[in-house]
Symmetry: C2
Subunit: 311 residues, 2 copies
């Protein structure tokens, strides 16, 4: 593994890809890898881009990649798809338009499922972002469809979360319901040439007024990814958010919270793996039948299992 | 608590409501309650109704409630909403139309959040359904918006999952992506008076052909909740699915899998609670700062924490 890591750290894209495949497996080898590369992380700015289908996330991501490249930065992209047993993994779909950058050695694009082996956890996405960070990508973009809890969990791992809205989609309430609003650090109203874009921006500002005042108030900007307008402001906003994270006490405590969250998730993942192993042995012993006949109950069986696992 | 449980088991709606509030708290008292009532469960038929916003789930649910009431059955309804810190709980929204039944003592309606105290788990919903089961509701309907993983997890707790589709919403791919197709036992194409309803039904059937053959093939029926058409067939399909669950080996093993799943979730919930408690003590000791300075890494800190918790 050491030789592979060495090649990846030197920037060899095929080795980077193999490291990400390794973290996707979420087994003990992936933990070993992460311990090996963790000291090399910390330089990248991880930007999450989320929004409903049809908001133009991929077009916007492609534009941002181009801007970052012009500034001489290396960009890693993780495109997260809600995976489904039907499709056997990630659906690429409109991500294909990011192929513009496919031949650029300064851009690394990878598609990942959002569920992971252990159900809905964002661990593998975070670890893939760390791999890209360690391997010298200055900007890591995590793009995901902002429709469900697992997608929100995924985007939470980023330093800066950018939520894309558009006029006329009529799913504003849906977005509010799903809790995406709360995790956004930056709002972009895309398709600004359409009627109602200003209204959407104004609505978001009204909603932001309802949140308890913090040092960072998420900026709301208009853009047209298609026409290439409004990109400078988005980049300016992401940079301002990065400065807030590194230079203010509040920003620092938010970074600490994310690190804490990561430790908690690693512990949970390990414990859940342990529970699943233990339960596989246990369930064959007739416990389920006894519950079904109401001879016992799921809580009693769970307690016995717990006592086997925890101190 | 015993007096409260006794009143609830006798069918007092206010006591039922208080028991559900108790299970929503997901603390040790809720486990005690569940152990107390579990022997009384097992008679109800739990039906999950899911679909995207705008598919007419609530109107359909209201129609089904009316049909079940005409047949002399008591009906409990759990309306699950993706909860959000902004609203402080569940959004009722269009569920209001179920208020038609608000004055009927044979109908109990309760709105719950989908996230739960412990993040995205469906435990409280399942337990609320058990409470309604024990308290003599013959049919328990769990209605939820089928957009994310946590909503899928919620609906999985039901005996029979009914997925509502409509023509012209154009989110078919979205639904497939989200993995809702796989959990559906019955498909209903609502708004059958609209163009394209037959096409949606045909598309679903084509997709069902792709699933490995099982004893239960999900039926697909057309309905118009607004016009009150197609309800008999939906009810006939739910009854057929119930018969399949109780009278075939495959159905029985699916019920067993759900019980197994429940035990596993209870164990996980308890362990995660334990992890959170332990980690609260630990994180104050400078571990986060050490990770940030790359003096250590999240995996090493996680391992130390794990060793404190598990045998």
């Amino acid at each position: 593994m050491d030789a592979l890591v060495e090649r990846a750290l030197l920037g060899d894209p095929r080795s980077v890809a193999r490291l990400i495949s390794l973290v996707e497996r979420e087994d003990s080898a992936s933990a070993d890898l992460m311990r090996l590369i963790y000291p090399r992380t910390g330089a990248a700015h991880t930007i999450g881009i989320t929004g409903s289908p049809g908001t133009g996330k991929s077009t916007l991501a492609a534009r941002l990649i181009a801007s970052f490249r012009e500034a001489g930065l290396k960009v890693g992209v993780i495109a997260v798809d809600p995976s489904s047993p039907y499709t056997g993994g990630a659906i690429l779909g409109d991500r294909l338009r990011m192929q513009d950058h496919a031949l650029d050695a300064g851009v690394f694009i990878r598609s990942m499922g959002s569920r992971g082996n252990l159900g809905g956890l964002s661990g593998a996405t975070r670890e893939a972002a760390h791999v890209l960070d360690a391997c010298g990508y200055d900007i890591v973009i995590v793009e995901t469809v902002g429709v469900g809890q697992s997608e929100i969990d995924v985007v939470k791992v980023c330093d800066t979360v950018c939520l894309i809205l558009v006029p006329g989609l009529g799913d504003d309430v849906q977005i509010m319901k799903a809790g995406v609003m709360e995790v956004a650090d930056i709002f972009v109203v895309n398709k600004s040439d359409r009627d109602g874009a200003g209204k959407v921006a104004a609505d978001v500002k009204v909603m932001l007024d309802l949140i308890p005042e913090r040092e960072w108030r998420p900026p709301v900007s208009l853009a047209s990814a298609r026409l290439g307008e409004g990109l400078e402001e988005i980049i300016k906003n992401t940079e301002a958010h990065k400065a807030y994270l590194t230079s203010t006490d509040e920003g620092r405590s938010r970074r600490m919270a994310k690190i804490g969250n990561q430790v908690e998730e690693i512990v949970k993942r390990e414990i859940l793996r342990r529970v699943e192993d233990e339960w596989k042995n246990e369930r064959s012993g007739g416990a389920l039948e006894d519950i079904e006949k109401r001879k016992t109950d799921p809580y009693a069986v769970a307690e016995a299992l717990l006592n086997k696992i925890i101190k």
